[in-house]
């Protein structure tokens, strides 16, 4: 019975019925073997110890929208690998691999949907896709999703799970920080609300642009929220990190987010929020 540790780090799949459909999952935090359906029902929170497993973008969308209301936007047509980048693995190969592993075209899934009946525009990063990093395609999709929300006058919800800008696209990735803020300005000009949901991890260039500019910012319990990673901080400065550093609780105490929400209540809290934000009551 091989155990494969995937990129989600804390999400361990036990392959039982072939590589495609593992039936059991092992919780890395407490060691429990959990029936996958049960874990799914529990929104990927360990029923034994409460540890949070990563949610893929599709799982997140399923958890946050009314059934069968999500209509995905077509992916933007963007030339791939603008720099012809190769490290130990050519970037194109990395992309192909990520696509195969996740079944996604890119690290962002965006579309329109309803939540408790309220229409919204939703964009969700998937950390499994090259660390949820923002390259040109992700930036473009985020821009277009915001443009759609501004036009349709539906609240824009952005679920962050990202290591930052995509290194393999160099400065072009860095400048997506500006592009997504240009999209944010469209929402502001139309007076359309923007809600950010920060999850594990919300860091780097995504946090230092769109991720920090919401009207309302929710942090999922278990989120990691910070510009620089804890290891970088320790290595660069030699500072001892305080306990709970960069957790959702830390962010709340330092005034960086509006609320900390357990995953089980995230859907309900968003609905509560839409109830005060939606233009029609």
């Amino acid at each position: 019975m091989p155990i494969r540790k995937d990129k989600r780090e804390r999400y361990v799949e036990v392959e039982v019925s072939g590589p495609r459909e593992p039936l059991w999952v092992r919780c890395e935090a407490c060691g429990e073997l959990i029936f996958k359906r049960k874990l799914q029902e529990n929104q990927y929170v360990c029923p034994r110890c409460g540890a949070y497993f990563f949610l893929s973008a599709r799982e997140r969308i399923a958890a946050l929208t009314d059934p069968e209301t999500f209509r995905e936007f077509p992916p933007p047509q963007i030339p791939e690998d603008p720099l012809g980048f190769a490290d130990q693995v050519p970037y194109r190969e990395r992309l192909a691999r990520a696509r195969q592993e996740t079944g996604l075209g890119e690290a962002l899934v965006a579309g329109e949907a309803r939540l408790a009946g309220y229409p919204l525009t939703l964009a969700v990063l998937d950390f499994r896709f090259i660390g949820g990093s923002m390259g040109v395609a992700v930036g473009e999709a985020l821009y277009l999703a915001q443009a759609h929300a501004a036009r349709a006058r539906t609240p824009f919800v952005f679920v962050v799970s990202s290591g930052g800008a995509r290194v393999q696209e160099g400065v072009l990735a860095l400048l997506q920080m500006v592009k997504v803020v240009a999209g944010r300005e469209l929402l502001a000009q139309e007076g359309v609300p923007y809600i950010a949901v920060l999850t594990y991890p919300s860091t780097g260039g995504v946090l230092a642009s769109l991720g920090s500019l919401a009207d309302v910012t929710l942090a999922e319990e278990g989120a990691l929220i910070g510009f620089a990673g804890p290891r970088v901080i320790e290595q660069t400065t030699g500072e001892r990190l305080p306990p709970g550093f960069q957790t959702a609780r830390f962010a709340l105490e330092h005034g960086l987010v509006d609320q900390v929400v357990p995953r089980a209540q995230l859907r309900e809290e968003l609905a509560r929020l839409l109830r005060v934000l939606a233009e029609e009551p």
Partner: protein
């Protein structure tokens, strides 16, 4: 005689010809043209051969023209403004009101320091949350007074520290980007040395982005990329190549509007000439921008960033 020396000889010869032509009214146009073509070619070759990693070293030199001395040489008058009005002040990201060739503007710049104490105090140009919140405040002052913004960038990146996180350095950088996008007057950014990731882009969402010839602008340091992607910090030179972080490469990618040539050997070799080259380029771009009506200026700026990196049919 190496190529750099050959170039010097040719340049001296050209200068002499020009002097002669002026003094004695000789027509040396043809000879001068030949010579100048040769010089340009050699120059291009010499600089094209500088590896990205060599440029990274040049960009990081502690004696590179930058910071407060650069600003003082650049402007007729500079009045420093300090503090973010909530937490404190940051010596690594400074700014103030300036007059440049008669124009009023607000200036923001990284200060790395030249003495060891200054460098420690300014953390080698790594600004913390206070620095970026101050930058946002000064952008607001500039917006209220309808003044152009000029930013001079030279930072390894924002400071990664506990206090920086506690005071929301990420939010401050995001706020700067937003403020620059909305700024109701021309904005020009010049990358003088290192343009390090988020700490640089916070000041670079400008109408025009100029780079000194040996400056760099990168999503991550070559060392960082090497250790993350190659798992080997020693391949930093290779990473520097892959990242396309040089001025000429970024110009080719359409990210940079102009590459400002440096004096032979690099900007540090001639402080005054570097200042003058930057001054000329900035004034030229500010002049062009100030002729645009505000709505056109904003539309062009917005379009530029809305399409950055996307040349496909979706754009």
């Amino acid at each position: 005689m190496n190529e750099e020396e050959r170039l010097k000889v040719l340049e001296e010869k050209a200068a002499e010809l020009r002097r002669l032509a002026e003094q004695d009214g000789l027509d040396l146009g043809a000879e001068l043209a030949v010579l100048e073509r040769k010089i340009a070619e050699l120059r291009r070759k010499l600089y094209a051969e500088l590896s990205p990693w060599a440029r990274v070293q040049l960009a990081r030199r502690p004696d590179r023209p930058s910071g407060l001395p650069f600003v003082q040489a650049l402007c007729e008058a500079f009045f420093e403004l300090r503090g973010d009005r909530v937490v404190g002040d940051d010596p690594a990201l400074r700014g103030g009101l300036a007059r440049l060739a008669g124009n009023r503007l607000v200036l923001l710049f990284h200060h790395r320091g030249s003495t060891p104490e200054e460098q420690r105090a300014s953390r080698f140009g790594m600004a913390s949350a206070q620095g970026y919140w101050k930058a946002k405040r000064l952008m607001e002052v500039a917006a209220r007074l309808r003044l152009p913004l000029l930013t001079l960038i030279n930072t390894p990146g924002a400071y990664p520290g506990v206090q920086a996180e506690a005071h929301n350095v990420a939010g401050a950088i995001a706020a700067c980007i937003w403020a620059m996008l909305r700024h109701p007057a021309p904005t020009v950014a010049v990358i003088l040395g290192e343009g390090g990731s988020g700490g640089a882009v916070a000041l670079a969402a400008a109408d025009r982005v100029l780079m000194l010839e040996n400056a760099t602008y990168s999503v991550i340091s070559p060392e960082g990329a090497a250790s993350i992607l190659w798992k080997d910090a020693k391949v930093a030179p290779k990473a520097a190549e892959a990242l396309r972080l040089t001025a000429h490469e970024l110009y080719a990618l359409g990210v940079v509007d102009e590459v400002i040539p440096e004096p032979m050997g690099g900007a540090h070799a001639d402080f005054a000439a570097t200042v003058e080259a930057v001054r000329e380029a900035v004034l030229r771009h500010l002049g062009e921008l100030s002729r645009l009506p505000l709505d056109e200026l904003l539309r062009a700026r917005y379009k530029r960033y809305r399409h950055v990196g996307a040349q496909g049919p979706g754009a």
